[in-house]
Symmetry: none
Subunit: 145 residues, 4 copies
């Protein structure tokens, strides 16, 4: 007797702001996906690929770019708390007031790649942050001119 077959798909429910759902649907159409689930599956896979990069413990320099609405409750306090917990890694933060709501924040960072990645994850996952990205570059020492 064969073992019970593993199901082909599992279903789960996602709750997002209505505007985000609308924009997801438009992107699904524009990119030519047959349905929303296929689009979301691809987004998850892209996220996993990025997440699993082996960052290692070499010393890197880099930047963390964040966009958030500073009116969103606690977002600023959360971001500053995280940054101060790692103030030895965060060299400086440049904050630009894009408009009445939105902030662009760029952090100059230096430290072990894996640690910097963990801080970036924490900042980007903070509620209220709309979008964030870690950009890794070199400290210049190990890079010939």
């Amino acid at each position: 007797m064969k073992p019970a077959k593993k199901p082909h798909v599992v279903r789960f429910t996602v709750s997002v702001p209505p505007d985000l759902a609308t924009q997801l649907d438009r992107m699904t159409r524009e990119k030519g996906y047959a349905n929303r689930s296929l689009a979301v599956a691809d987004l998850i896979r892209a996220g996993l690929v990025e997440h699993r990069q082996n960052y290692g413990d070499r010393e890197i320099a880099g930047s963390i770019t964040l966009v958030y609405d500073h009116h969103k409750q606690h977002v600023q306090t959360t971001l500053t708390d995280i940054q101060h917990d790692h103030h030895h890694l965060i060299l400086a933060t440049l904050h630009v007031h894009l408009d009445h709501h939105n902030c662009l924040e760029v952090l100059a960072v230096r430290g072990k790649a894996q640690t910097v990645k963990a801080i970036a994850d924490e900042l980007i996952a903070a509620r209220g942050v709309k979008h964030g990205k870690l950009t890794i570059t070199s400290t210049g020492k190990d890079l010939p001119p």
Copy 2:
């Protein structure tokens, strides 16, 4: 009588292969999200930002990260000349002195995607720049929370 309030969130169901769901859940925990929906919402927003990069005349915000040896002849003059030629697009530049030789420079930028890309290319191609990267994000206006 008050008008019907816009719902705070909408719910929809996603069907994905079981392994993908499992791995999404692990990533959700590892990145520190409070729940799966928040993780998926961030993946959707990241997907939207990337998708929209293809539209050259769309307004984007972003950062340009550069590492260079300031002793390299003319590099600084070249970088500043390029930046001043586009001073309406470059909101501010954060400069960190990594060591006696190496500089980490992070520019906060805003403008049409195409123009920002062209400036980034010009800066990164400048003689003496060891490494550079353009990170595109949103001005926040077109990205629902």
Copy 3:
């Protein structure tokens, strides 16, 4: 025939008490100026910047330097709210995490002297700000080299 060229420098004679001349020469050396004229030119420019601060509707550039404990309740929210209310005047904010508690924040500003002063007052008076200072300089346009 070419038009008469504008002279590069003009010369004029200054009469001052002998001790003042001696002390000017010492300061010129101590500050590292190549000669006395360069030192006096800088003193004149500094005098002009200060003199013009009295004109409330003159456009100035400057910086606002703040030190605060980010754990102090609401201080960060208050500071960001004020800054966003005037996001056209505040070009960018540089935030350095001095230690677990203390923040050094430096704002680059440009606008009418009077308005900039009012914003600086509001920021410095905010509860939780330990110390703050407005530094007025020129936008460079009205200051000859």
Copy 4:
């Protein structure tokens, strides 16, 4: 026989750009000085008062604000060289492109007051810097909330 009397005044010649001389003359009139020499003498005295402040060796945080024309030969190279020579004291530099010519640069600094003062002097005295100011504040540690 009485010794030769010390002269009441000494004369020396100053060479400055023509526009600066014109603006000095206007300020001399506006401030109500009887002549240019009296105005310059007061500017020298104001400079001396500031120069002689006892900065001491306590640890301070602060900012150095500079305005310069980046087209002026070597100014940028000179400023960066000085900054890198003291990269442990200069936490980060915020650079804003005011217009095609003029730059506003704000440095966040931390270190012994006297050392920071010496670096500020060197930067401000650099040829091409139109105006500069050192703003001293506290690291926050020694300042009760």
